[in-house]
């Protein structure tokens, strides 16, 4: 009974896309498609939540009816990721209704055509049970998100960003495809079942190659440093709801792929796999948040924070792999639960923050934090929900980000503290890395929230900001509510997650941390909130409160230019970590011969990350020079081409002769 409904569910996405394209003309259909999509996502959310909690499996095979071994399967892991997709896509779609309103008809037509297809492609990746469907979804996901970026405009800068995005995604897709192909000699067919069965029996060097390819391929999609280059370029130029989807959900398909490969297909990991993931996670986490601190564009800042949070997820995954290879399944379970929970949490709060940024852009037409300020009085609802997102991403207690960071931390120290004898040192030291990431993230979001929402408006634009439309406010409040509920009652997600991880890592008893935090968080939250309310009650806070201007040290009054800006706020931290940023600064004082009495000073600073300079530039140069070399072969002379063909044939024949 459920199977045909599921197929209809899948098919309705393309239908919505077609309707979206055709119906952009009339008001009726224009409203219809978003609502169809919303209903679709809501039912998907319900279905996946039930499958996630109850563990109903679903397996559809159309290998005999359809070409290319088409098949879908839903297990607990799939259901979890499907739930993440629907949970973020629902508010993003809701947000889009208001987002597309001021745009032209042509824009709406493409937007409402591509958006359902983009969501559909991500669903395909997750529910696929064959290589064909997975790779088709994977490629579609890249291309469709690229299309959604392209409809927003086509200036030089945007095309450049889009090109880097597509190039890196294709590098990743090639690596993932290579990883699949390495299974082929042993696997009877290209279904996941067959791959799973062959995974264990492969020789170690092939397993290593598969792992490395999968690590690089999914790492490129996830934005692991140094493969993160596309994130801060593609996210800011995408429409805000699409940024929310890309950061909140699309990156998570890479996490899904990595979990599938390393825990499911390959299983029994080698010890260094975990350490590789840990190193990638630590580097991405620390550098990601440091780069974010240097950014003053709200969306680019959030994009770098995606790198950071993917880093935290990889820290959890790496810990889990390390414990698996050390044969400690209970702590492997704990760390994997932490990583998956952070996947969900990051989707929720990052979706919330990107949508919040979208709402700001909608009403002020800028995302430069130096031009904002004082928005909390203009946009109270967006401001309050954005604050929830900031607290959650900074990993503060009472919000969901804290729970997964706590579990990650317990994963680090659990082995060292509770398992006497194991002289594992890397993991406890990672607690310090997590602390550093947490501190930096908190500082960064004090900056992001404080500079954009508090104080005085820096520019007239911010002063004239109007409140966001209702659909936008509803979208962000849904996500904020989810952040708070899962932050105070993490048990509702943790229990099914534990069952999920039980299907991946067998033979483990439940780690005590899960019940501890499920029961502990409500108590601590109640205590904190209780003291807050008690203080308010005792002080009877409604008392007279006079507004007096701040003392301006004798000047007539304070101006917005006197307050701290984003650049000045992060200056001390950038100063201390300057070896990471390495900015190119140019200060020109005119006239040159009188440096102390200048008439004009121009200051110019470019921040290219050191990766661009020392890794990508040489790689691209090498590629281009190799292509130049190859071009010499192309003489344009048909005889020469015939000669090449002849040589090729000859060498193949030689190979055949001597290889047997």
């Amino acid at each position: 009974m459920i199977e045909p409904i599921f197929v209809i569910f899948l098919l309705l996405f393309p239908l919505a896309a077609i309707l979206g394209y055709l119906g952009a003309g009339s008001a009726l259909t224009r409203k219809f498609v978003p609502y169809l999509l919303l209903v679709l996502l809501l039912s998907g959310l319900g279905f996946s939540a039930i499958a996630f909690v109850k563990g109903n499996a679903l397996n559809l095979h159309y290998a005999s009816h359809l070409p290319f071994a088409t098949g879908f399967a839903v297990d607990r892991l799939t259901a979890f990721f499907l739930m993440v997709i629907c949970a973020i896509a629902f508010p993003a779609t809701l947000f889009s209704i208001s987002y597309t309103e001021p745009h032209s008809r042509g824009y709406c037509r493409w937007y409402w055509c591509l958006l359902p297809l983009f969501i559909f492609s991500m669903v395909l990746v997750i529910v696929s049970s064959t290589v064909f469907v997975f790779m088709a979804g994977w490629e579609l996901m890249t291309l469709l998100s690229g299309g959604l970026i392209a409809i927003e405009g086509a200036s030089e800068d945007r095309r450049r960003g889009l090109f880097i995005y597509l190039a890196m995604m294709h590098f990743g897709a090639a690596a993932v495809f290579g990883a699949f192909l390495l299974f082929v000699p042993g696997a009877p067919s290209l279904t996941f079942e067959a791959i799973r069965a062959t995974g264990h029996g492969l020789p170690p060097q092939v397993r290593t190659a598969i792992f490395l390819l999968a690590f690089a391929g999914f790492g490129a999609k996830a934005g692991i440093i140094p493969l993160h280059l596309w994130l801060p370029k593609a996210h800011p130029i995408a429409p805000s709801p699409v940024s929310a989807l890309m950061s909140g959900v699309m990156l998570k398909t890479a996490v899904y792929g990595f979990v599938r490969f390393s825990f499911d297909f390959l299983a029994a990991p080698a010890p260094w796999w975990g350490y590789l993931a840990l190193a990638a996670g630590a580097v991405s986490g620390v550098l990601g948040v440091l780069y974010a601190l240097g950014e003053h564009d709200l969306k680019r800042l959030l994009a770098y924070h995606s790198v950071e949070n993917i880093g935290i997820i990889y820290l959890g995954l790496g810990t889990s792999l390390v414990f698996l290879s050390h044969n400690a399944p209970i702590w492997a379970t704990l760390a994997l639960v932490a990583a998956l929970l952070h996947t969900l949490n990051h989707a929720l709060f990052k979706g919330l923050l990107f949508l919040g940024a979208g709402a700001i852009h909608h009403s002020t037409h800028t995302l430069d934090m130096e031009e904002l300020g004082g928005l909390s009085r203009r946009m109270p609802m967006v401001s309050a929900t954005f604050l929830v997102g900031c607290c959650a991403i900074a990993g503060l207690p009472l919000f969901n980000g804290f729970v997964s960071e706590w579990l990650t931390f317990r994963g680090f120290v659990a082995g060292a503290v509770f398992d006497g004898g194991s002289n594992e040192l890397i993991l406890p030291l990672m607690a310090g890395v997590l602390g550093l990431i947490g501190g930096l993230a908190a500082a960064c979001f004090v900056k992001a929230y404080g500079i954009s929402f508090l104080g005085r408006p820096h520019t007239p634009r911010a002063e004239q900001a109007y409140d966001a439309p209702r659909a936008m406010k509803l979208a962000v409040s849904l996500l904020a509510a989810a952040c708070i509920v899962t932050g105070i009652f993490p048990g509702i997600v943790l229990r099914p997650l534990l069952a999920l991880v039980g299907t991946i890592i067998s033979g483990a008893s439940a780690p005590p941390e899960i019940t501890m935090i499920s029961r502990g968080m409500p108590v601590i939250s109640a205590c904190v909130l209780g003291v807050i309310f008690l203080t308010f009650a005792v002080l009877r806070w409604k008392q007279i409160r006079r507004m007096v201007p701040t003392w301006a040290c004798g000047l007539p009054e304070l101006t917005p230019r006197m307050q701290y800006a984003a650049a000045s706020f992060s200056k001390p931290i950038r100063q201390v970590f300057r070896s990471v940023y390495k900015p190119d600064r140019k200060v020109e004082v005119l006239p040159v011969d009188r440096p102390y009495f200048p008439e004009a000073i121009s200051y110019h600073s470019v921040r290219t990350t050191s990766f661009e300079r020392s890794l990508y530039r040489p790689a691209v140069d090498l590629l281009i020079s190799a292509a130049r070399g190859l071009r010499r072969l192309h003489t344009g002379n048909i005889q020469a081409y015939l000669l090449y063909i002849f040589f090729m044939l000859f060498s193949l024949l030689l190979y055949l002769r001597f290889s047997q």
């Binding site: 508090l454 006079r546 701040t550």
Partner: protein, 313 residues
């Protein structure tokens, strides 16, 4: 009985906090050959502020009003983690030091936002510097406590205290020394004392915490001051519980509790004296020398974790 003791511990940490400030000020006055104010002066200050009018700058949003309350609440909740008289506390059973550290971080997050809400440059200056200090202090704090947890095989603050109290003082390992040094540095940074921050002035050059609260007045300021005092007391009590827990009451009789309280007061006085001597003999560090100071703490804490390998049986 245990519950009553735990509540008493919380009350001691919260209510005696201003007195600790007063005692340190008194000690410092004596070192400077002054008579100094009464040790109960901080109580009078807080009470006075509670009776005063609450002023707010015109740019203030609700955050400005909520921040002091959140800071106070997190300080009180943090106090509920610390064992004082016996090796237990209200929240210790279900929690660990990670939660303790992050509860304090919640308060810091909100006070920084409150500072930025004032719209003047001083608030931003304080918030920005506080962010730098806390960024660098969090990692050594977690690592130092992790090293102790690895030795005592428990992550709960109360259990670590119980384990340490069961050891012979002269058997304590170099890990404890390293962790003590690291935690000491972090404690100075966290509580905003010299040489990282000067709690007694509001000079522009020394501004960290005092700059953040410059726009606050009346009851809001009273809450912040009290919270700051609680934080100082909590961190001091944490140091005592981690490194000098001997004499805790184990059987929870009136006599043993009285003895534990007496010993605790003695240790606290010792610590207050140490703080007074350090603060009287050191000048405040230049802002960009503070990161180096905290890097020393990080190095010590990393060493502490590494050394646990050689200690554990």
């Amino acid at each position: 009985m245990r519950l009553a003791v735990n509540v008493a511990q919380l009350l001691i940490l919260v209510l005696a906090a201003p007195a600790l400030r007063g005692i340190i000020a008194k000690f410092k006055a004596h070192i400077q050959r002054r008579q100094g104010a009464s040790i109960f002066r901080p109580y009078a200050d807080v009470l006075k502020l509670f009776r005063k009018e609450d002023l707010a700058p015109p740019t203030a949003s609700p955050i400005f009003r909520i921040a002091p309350v959140v800071v106070f609440a997190t300080a009180v909740i943090a106090a509920a983690f610390i064992p004082v008289l016996s090796a237990s506390s209200l929240l210790a059973a279900r929690t660990d030091f990670f939660i303790f550290v992050y509860v304090l971080a919640l308060g810091r997050f909100f006070i920084s936002l409150g500072a930025l809400d004032g719209g003047s440059s001083f608030g931003g200056m304080g918030a920005s510097r506080e962010a730098l200090v806390s960024v660098l202090a969090e990692a050594p704090l977690l690592l130092a406590l992790t090293s102790l947890a690895m030795l005592s095989k428990s992550l709960s603050l109360a259990e670590i205290t119980r384990w340490t109290a069961g050891q012979n003082f002269f058997d304590l390992s170099p890990v404890h020394l390293l962790a003590f040094a690291a935690l000491g540095i972090v404690a100075v940074a966290e509580t905003g004392r010299l040489p990282v921050d000067n709690p007694t002035t509001q000079l522009e050059l020394t501004m960290l915490h005092e700059a953040m609260v410059l726009e606050y007045s009346g009851p809001s300021l009273a809450l912040i001051e009290w919270a700051q005092a609680i934080k100082l007391h909590v961190i001091s009590a944490l140091m005592i519980a981690m490194f000098l827990p001997w004499g805790l009451s184990t059987i929870l009789t009136a006599g043993s509790l009285a003895l534990a309280l007496l010993l605790y007061c003695g240790k606290l006085l010792l610590l207050a004296g140490a703080i007074a001597v350090i603060e009287s003999s050191l000048a405040k560090l230049r802002m960009y020398a503070v990161p180096d100071f905290l890097r020393v703490a990080s190095a010590l804490a990393i060493l502490a974790v590494i050394f646990t390998v050689f200690i554990r049986k």
